[in-house]
Symmetry: C2
Subunit: 343 residues, 2 copies
Amino acid sequence: MNLKTLALELGLSPTTVSRALNGYPEVSEATRRRVREAAEAANYHPNTQAKRLATGRAMAIGHIIPISDRHEIVNPVFADFIAGAGEVYARAGYDMVMTIVPDDSEARAYAELRSKGNVDGVLIHAPKVEDHRIAMLDTLGMPYVLHGRVSGSDSAFSWVDVNNKRAFERATNFLLDLGHRRIALINGIGEMDFARRRRRGYEAALKARDMAIDPALIVEGEMTEAQGHDAAREMLQWPDPPTAFLTASLLSAMGARRGIEEAGLVMGRDVSIVTHDDELGYLKNGTAEEPIFTATRSSVREAGRRCAALLIEQIESGDCRPRHELMEAVLVVGQSTGPVPTQ
Amino acid sequence: MNLKTLALELGLSPTTVSRALNGYPEVSEATRRRVREAAEAANYHPNTQAKRLATGRAMAIGHIIPISDRHEIVNPVFADFIAGAGEVYARAGYDMVMTIVPDDSEARAYAELRSKGNVDGVLIHAPKVEDHRIAMLDTLGMPYVLHGRVSGSDSAFSWVDVNNKRAFERATNFLLDLGHRRIALINGIGEMDFARRRRRGYEAALKARDMAIDPALIVEGEMTEAQGHDAAREMLQWPDPPTAFLTASLLSAMGARRGIEEAGLVMGRDVSIVTHDDELGYLKNGTAEEPIFTATRSSVREAGRRCAALLIEQIESGDCRPRHELMEAVLVVGQSTGPVPTQ
DNA sequence: GGAGCTGTCCAAAGCGCTTTGGGCGGGCGA
DNA sequence: TCGCCCGCCCAAAGCGCTTTGGACAGCTCC
């Protein structure tokens, strides 16, 4: 079923049918209703490709996912972010097109997407402290929104981010207030912008109390269960072990807990943990009211929604002035923290 | 830059340029090379929408993801599967388009995708024992491949699946051979086809040794860390607790381990765990050679690749005879299993 | 030397939609 | 009554590509 045959059946011209369906005013309400009903009955949906070609709008948003050996972008956080963004796309009538590329051809993938014209904009994941994608996208002239920020670029772009620095500063202060002095930071990969900001927050809190920063207490890497476990296990064997861990993800926190328990210690009594919690659908920190881990909590799915909304707004308005949205994490207290144990 | 201007610059007709680039024989090698070079230099890529409209091929594969309150499809397994499929799509020149829909309008989403013509086929996730999507897709006449199977349908369709029954039968036998008699099954959601098959495998192994099946030892639900923890914690308080757990995912296994340790027991000595391991990029079972958990291992990312390959083959050949691929899981021995402790 | 290939190229007709630029008749103001 | 506007509708021209149906030269072969 296409426009032409539908128009024929209705005894109207394709023009009128198209206009009726797309809400143009040059068609009487009576015909519009008649057309709408016929379209409904015939389960008619305009052919996407034709529509796209005619309007020049792809009605699709691109996500480029580099696959590398070093770094797994396809992680649980990513999945939830996608889910959030996808909800918004669907409501707005956009497709989400994902391209998996070997990370050495990421730049080419953007350029291709642009020149093939199959997306109206792209969403950028996991920005690094200095991210070459920014400059490239600016030269390509394709609308984009970052999930996160970059520190190393002066270019003005749109982003949605959590206030990572503030969240980790607050978390650190929370632990300091409980009397902890040896606080380990089990962070994400160092070159990631979010990890850098979290570290800055941690360091800022320590500095504000005139405390030295011990580099040995800082671990950076992929935020896995193994990371948390290995770090905790090792540090707890030191002569002056940390009394608290600040971890960057629930998985790392779970690993740290395991390390603590393996050392014959009790989490929340002997050793405290504060973690960041992205509120993943599949990895919950207990219940909302009774969390297991004390955590800085911020929904990454909501971040996905906001990124998508921002990008669509930018595309549809044609107004490319950069927009920002800074989300604040809430600090929820769970069972994983307590006052520093007295010797 | 489009075909017409490129042709003009070259002093050729659009026809010839198109044919040169698409490898048709009616053009001399000399011109073909000239055209290729000019296209390269101008960074010319044919407009996707126009190409699609002209050929009638969408060059895209659809994934429909229902979002519900009851059940989270956006899980780590899903993410890895997508990554695998996406690799193959990219190599074959296909886009991956994902549509997030509220689960009550899933059927409509497929019909729309079909009539809007923006995909050439779809990949079906997480089939249930009886899955209404099969009948619907058959009436729509759109190529599809299932990741998994359905038991309740006689319709002939293509699928890629792990031999879940055999895997869990082997795992159960492995535990039985170690002397375990009270083996708990911490399974996925019961209406899921894979969970049903895993349960059948577990039951078959018990029956083969004339052992009764204790329904109390079977738990079905979302495969989260909490699920494993809660189940283990409760069962270990019974007067006749299980001596082994068979879990359906690494997260559940991690939860079960926590439950075991909370009970003051040692995994691998007092209580054994065998789990299924999907080899997720972000959730590793130790290293390949030295796994933490004894596990039935099968890469879900590889399953994604094979699903994608099957679907593309089906689409491009136009031969819609169903194809199947049954992957076997390997049973790897880790540190989580040992002989049943003597009282 | 002319018929018949063959290799190389092109003009033009779509693909299914949107959009521009009218056409036509009825109601209104002068 | 005439002219004009306005509401409603349509024909036709694209969007950028593929593909059909030749055209034309150079060649072989009898």
